[in-house]
């Protein structure tokens, strides 16, 4: 009873009880996520013995040294840099080749267009682990194992289906009047694409860039196969290796610092772009 009374203080008196259940449920769900993230960030500033003494306490003194150790001794600084290079190069190349292809597939009529579009989209349904061993053979022959550019090549190739799927959705939703106006004004095919259609499709390009960027930043299965040299690791693989050595090192705070380093960039990006990402997912994922 007393419990009931305190709760009603937070809500307008006439609130429907069903609505209160909704707020409590959604509130708890969000609070759980927030708490876990907050806990790991906070713990990354503690010492190992502090974590064991009291899991819910604040750090007595913020141990920035955990981050210094992670970045230099554990080489997370280098891995971070590798991830930046691989992710940005992959996203740029991916868009540079997928946008023109998607434009042609969605706006130009030619024989075999439907077949080709289905062939592209079919890639979404292929679990790419089936390609790992053949790809390993190809990459070895091309001497691209253990190189960042080899990793970029694989990331780009395997991300093409999803990206083409999103971008064809965007391109086909654009009005054709502007395209026609461009042709009347004497633009050639390439100018119509570059000056008119590409700028119009920029929300789609941004959506594809964000989703691929976050996905590739977080990816570790492929890099685990194609990179064994420590100097070429990405941050996700770095964290995976750190997890694996945890039973020997017992360096929990270092692990938590690593987790914070890998997740903070994507969380910050999400906080800035969440509106755009969610509407982009809507348009790309379930286009009509």
């Amino acid at each position: 009873m007393t419990n009931n009374k305190t709760v009603t203080h937070f809500f307008p008196p006439k609130m429907h009880p069903g609505k209160m259940v909704v707020y409590v449920f959604l509130g708890l769900w969000s609070a759980f996520t927030a708490f876990v993230i907050f806990w790991v960030i906070l713990s990354s500033f503690k010492t190992n013995s502090e974590i064991f003494r009291n899991v819910f306490s604040f750090p007595k003194k913020f141990q920035f040294i955990n981050y210094a150790t992670a970045l230099s001794a554990e080489k997370f600084g280098l891995f971070f840099l590798n991830s930046i290079i691989v992710t940005s190069a992959s996203v740029i190349i991916l868009l540079a080749i997928s946008a023109p292809a998607s434009y042609v597939l969605s706006r130009v009529r030619f024989p075999g267009r439907r077949f080709l579009t289905s062939l592209y989209v079919a890639g979404i349904g292929i679990p790419y682990s089936i390609t790992l061993i053949p790809l390993f053979v190809i990459m070895t022959k091309l001497a691209l194992i253990n190189t960042l550019h080899g990793l970029v090549l694989i990331y780009v190739s395997l991300s093409i289906p999803f990206t083409v799927y999103i971008l064809t959705g965007f391109f086909s939703s654009l009005p054709s009047e502007l395209e026609e106006a461009g042709i009347i004004d004497g633009c050639n095919d390439f100018q119509v694409f570059g000056h008119i259609m590409l700028p119009l499709a920029s929300p789609g390009l941004i959506t594809a860039a964000i989703f691929n960027g976050i996905g590739l930043w977080n990816e570790y299965q492929l890099v685990l196969v194609f990179v064994s040299n420590q100097a070429k690791r990405t941050i996700a693989l770095g964290l995976y290796s750190m997890q694996n050595s945890m039973e020997y090192t017992g360096n929990w705070v270092g692990l938590f610092a690593g987790v914070t380093i890998i997740m903070l960039p994507t969380i910050v990006l999400f906080v800035i772009l969440s509106g755009r990402m969610i509407s982009g997912l809507t348009m790309g994922g379930v286009k009509s």
Binding site: T33, V40, L119, V121, P127, T131, L132, F190, I278
Partner: protein, 297 residues
């Protein structure tokens, strides 16, 4: 057609070449490798016909365990993903304040690296030493429940499925909400005037109106559930606990190993072929059952 030829070719060529050489051809090549006995990238390949498949299907309990685990993730996990997905979507869409805030917050786990999420679940949430579930239960007086060993061999798979559900729900909530946003509000108002309750409205208006979304979401869930790899592979940390094997994990372990390389390359590739076939069967089934859908392939 003729006047666009230059553009069609230059625009399609780079993407098509990469897609063909580094995705489609390796996929087809996998079928070829799967009929060889091949134990190492530098060793000889020996043609064995369907022996790898026979061994997998008739003589390999670990394969069947991985298969079963994948199927449990697909159906049991899928049930909860969609049940919670609809529940949360209806809640967020019920005219509450802060709709965008809750939607964004619930989506958040999706942007975090899986390998970070496994650290959170294995060591922050479930850990027997300082896991926050145990500590919280203890704090509010459930001392016996707080001793529950989430990561013990018999529990670890279920614990993992819970975590995967939590991560995945968020994605489908956003898809379902996107579908719901397109339903005209007068449909709901008319139904309310007729005296329909929430459940009737959900069953007779919401579900039929967003059926496209349901089908596309089921297809996407099927694909991502069946290729589950990153979570179990880093959740089992340094051990190779078969309790957590999925088809994709087993493929990886047979192909590349975890601690020690195994390099049963033909055998691992055969697992990949079976995985692909299971994905295709699931997709056909969803489309047969679901009727119309718009993800064309």
């Amino acid at each position: 057609m003729k006047k666009h030829r230059a553009m069609i070719i230059t625009f399609l060529l780079p993407a098509s070449l990469l897609y063909l050489c580094f995705f489609l051809i390796p996929t087809i090549w996998a079928f070829y490798y799967s009929v060889f006995d091949w134990s190492g990238f530098s060793s000889e390949m020996k043609f064995v016909g369907l022996k790898n498949y026979r061994r997998l299907l008739l003589n390999d309990p670990l394969f069947w365990r991985s298969f079963l685990n994948s199927i449990i993730i697909l159906f049991v996990g899928g049930f909860f993903v969609f049940f919670l997905g609809f529940l949360l979507s209806v809640m967020i869409n019920s005219g509450i304040k802060g709709k965008n805030f809750f939607r964004a917050f619930i989506f958040l786990p999706n942007v975090i690296a899986t390998v970070a999420l496994t650290t959170l679940w294995a060591w922050v949430i479930y850990s027997p030493q300082f896991g926050i579930i145990g500590k919280t239960l203890n704090l509010i007086g459930f001392h016996a429940a707080s001793k529950f060993l989430w990561l013990a061999p018999n529990n670890v798979f279920n614990s993992m499925v819970i975590a995967i559900i939590w991560i995945s729900v968020s994605y489908y909530v956003v898809l379902i909400l996107a579908g719901m946003d397109k339903i005209p509000t007068d449909f709901y108002e008319a139904a309310k005037l007729e005296g329909a309750n929430q459940f009737t409205i959900f069953r007779t208006i919401t579900i039929p109106m967003i059926w496209d979304v349901v089908i596309v979401s089921s297809v996407l869930w099927g694909i991502s559930a069946l290729k589950t790899f990153e979570f179990p592979f880093s959740f089992m940390s340094s051990s190779e606990d078969p309790h957590l094997y999925t088809l994709n994990v087993y493929l990886f372990i047979m192909g590349f190993g975890k601690r020690q390389p195994i390099y049963q390359l033909g055998y691992a590739t055969a697992i990949g072929v079976i995985l692909l076939i299971v994905v295709i069967i699931f997709n056909i089934a969803v489309r047969r059952i679901g009727g119309r859908d718009r993800l064309e392939y």
